[in-house]
Symmetry: C2
Subunit: 204 residues, 2 copies
DNA sequence: GTCTATAGACGGATAGAC
DNA sequence: GTCTATCCGTCTATAGAC
């Protein structure tokens, strides 16, 4: 029986349910648009009970955003300088698109934050994010120096991978409106199109 | 002296100032995040005075969004079926990128709306927007049939143009964080990169 | 047309019983 | 740990004087 940290199973379960519900609500409504009542209801709790687990609405949001950037950048981190250049980049595109498909709420939570000026993660963007991108830009430029891929602006190459893949999560409703209904799955065609696009762009 | 519509110059000027201020605030904070006080202050008016010109916060937002989609789609509408295919598409990309550079607030207003499920413009997306895209998809496919550009999925081609160009307005802070400061102008390099990208993708 | 004052609703957070 | 009740700040919108 640990006294210092009485972390019961029910506590863990409720915390998890709150974060899950909060991801739903924040990603769909933004921070200001979301209400604690909505999150509590979605988590199956009363509002005061939710605030027993988290000190404030802000704290829930911060916890969600906190871990997000790291997992979001994992596919980029995985890009191997010693691999076959075109294959590494195409694999990155594929993984990033899979993340949009499998974790659209996380993508929209992030998008909401950035579009509104990233008030809560500006530091991480110019810190961890910039450092990782700078490192991978050097890798890509080295590949181009060696003549193994065509030379392109590596920063904008990375921007383009982000925007193209995240578009399918962030602008989901627009994609489905244009393609004609929620039953259409845009991802197979999107994947094929993007593989084709980057193959043609980068083949020397 | 017109009695039916006493549209004085000061009225026109105030209405314009309100819409201008509202674009600032809505695009930066989203609909829920914006307050009437902020908009009024930015327009140099008191809150009740603002509400003398517009019946509600919602009405201001609706008026801004209302005209937006049309002007936003103008560059696509301009794409000429009888022009030189690659040149038409590259020109569309160029104009769309210029719109991100010159009207970033409009882009972010739109992005805020779509990311949060487009509650106020869902109809226009599956109506006017879809119709125009369907039409241009037929044009692009005809170009591919004639062997004048490489065959790609035309819907995803259009999606990619949207996402790549709007990224520089919507994710502005992230772009500047990565490139290392607000004084960097990403647009010249972005334009060159995008022209290169679509040229390589579409050249038969 | 523009202001001060305020109504009325909502949302975040807390008190305190159980 | 969970609830009911409630406080208090904020926000939209209106009333009414000037």
């Amino acid at each position: 029986m640990q006294q210092s940290r009485p972390e019961t199973r029910i506590q863990q379960k409720n915390r998890a349910a709150i974060l899950e519900a909060a991801l739903d609500v924040f990603s769909a409504q933004g921070f200001r648009g979301a209400t604690v009542d909505q999150i509590a209801a979605a988590a199956g709790l009363s509002k005061p009970n939710l605030l027993y687990y988290f000190p404030s609405k802000e704290a829930i949001h911060a916890e969600l955003l906190g871990g997000l950037l790291d997992t979001w950048l994992d596919p980029l981190r995985t890009m191997d300088p010693d691999g076959e250049p075109l294959e590494e980049i195409l694999a990155y595109v594929r993984r990033k698109l899979e993340m949009s498909r499998d974790y659209p709420r996380e993508s929209r939570l992030f998008a909401n934050e950035i579009v509104q000026g990233a008030p809560r993660i500006a530091d991480e963007l110019s810190g961890a994010l910039k450092n990782l991108v700078d490192e991978k830009v050097r890798v890509i430029n080295a590949w181009a120096d060696a003549g193994r891929i065509a030379r392109v602006d590596a920063y904008h190459l990375i921007f383009s991978i982000w925007s193209l893949t995240q578009h399918y999560a962030d602008f989901d409703v627009q994609v489905h409106a244009v393609l004609g209904g929620p039953e259409v799955d845009p991802y197979p065609a999107a994947n094929e199109y993007l593989q084709q696009l980057f193959t043609r762009l980068l083949t020397p």
